[in-house]
Amino acid sequence: MPPKAADYCVVARMLVSIKVRYFASLSEKAGKSESDMAVSRTLKVSEVWRLDTGGIAMPDNLLAAVNMEYADLEAQVYDGDEVAFFPPVTGG
């Protein structure tokens, strides 16, 4: 059964919820340790940074994870994803 016009409208107004987390020095830089974004399209990781930090310059050594796995800054982020930003790790 072909979709009805009303379905397209719903799709066009879709809500993409993204949880954003900042760790270590980046939570101080961003001024928050987490936030919940709601946007109307899927985003790249780098766009999440830009939009959620309000355009703070991206540190050279920035690391990112999507759903707790390392991710490229060009990776796509979907509804319900958790995106994390952090500096080089220093455990051990």
Partner: protein
């Protein structure tokens, strides 16, 4: 293979002893155990360190550490492996990390233990903030490469 995050001080020797008690099926099979313990020093980069705050990314940390153990198991013949890592407020002489690898032969145990430790240092989401003698705080910026001679 097991990963443990400790919010309070841990005794590395007691952790190992307890872990080995559950070793019913590999008793007599392992000839080699390689261990590494990272301990908090009271100095770093020329400064005296009073204490340290170790933060992590709960969830991703465990996931990443498990991934490292699986990778080590693909590269070397290991019978079991354990990672224990401390988080929270840490004092000099506290254990920070324990890596243990059990295998039939020593080459595998040594190589895998070192691999796990280096992978942990470069990829596991932990961050250290040092409190200097003056009370000033600073984030540790990066870990060094443990294979490279300094």
């Amino acid at each position: 293979m097991n990963v443990k995050i400790c919010y309070e001080p841990f005794d590395a020797w007691e952790e190992i002893r307890q872990y080995q008690k559950a070793f019913v099926d590999v008793v007599g099979k392992y000839g080699a155990t390689s261990l590494f313990i990272g301990t908090m020093r009271d100095f770093n980069e020329g400064e005296t360190i009073q204490s340290m705050s170790l933060v992590h990314y709960p969830g991703m940390t465990e996931k990443q550490l498990h991934k490292i153990l699986v990778e080590a198991g693909q590269k070397w013949k290991i019978l079991d492996a354990l990672i224990v890592h401390r988080v929270g407020e840490i004092r000099p002489d506290d254990s920070i990390v324990l890596v243990a690898v059990w295998s039939a032969h020593r080459g595998d145990a040594f190589d895998a233990c070192r691999y796990i430790m280096e992978a942990l240092k470069s990829t596991a989401p932990f961050w250290k903030k040092e409190v200097l003698e003056s009370g000033q705080q600073r984030w540790v910026e990066k870990n060094t490469d443990g294979y490279r001679k300094i």
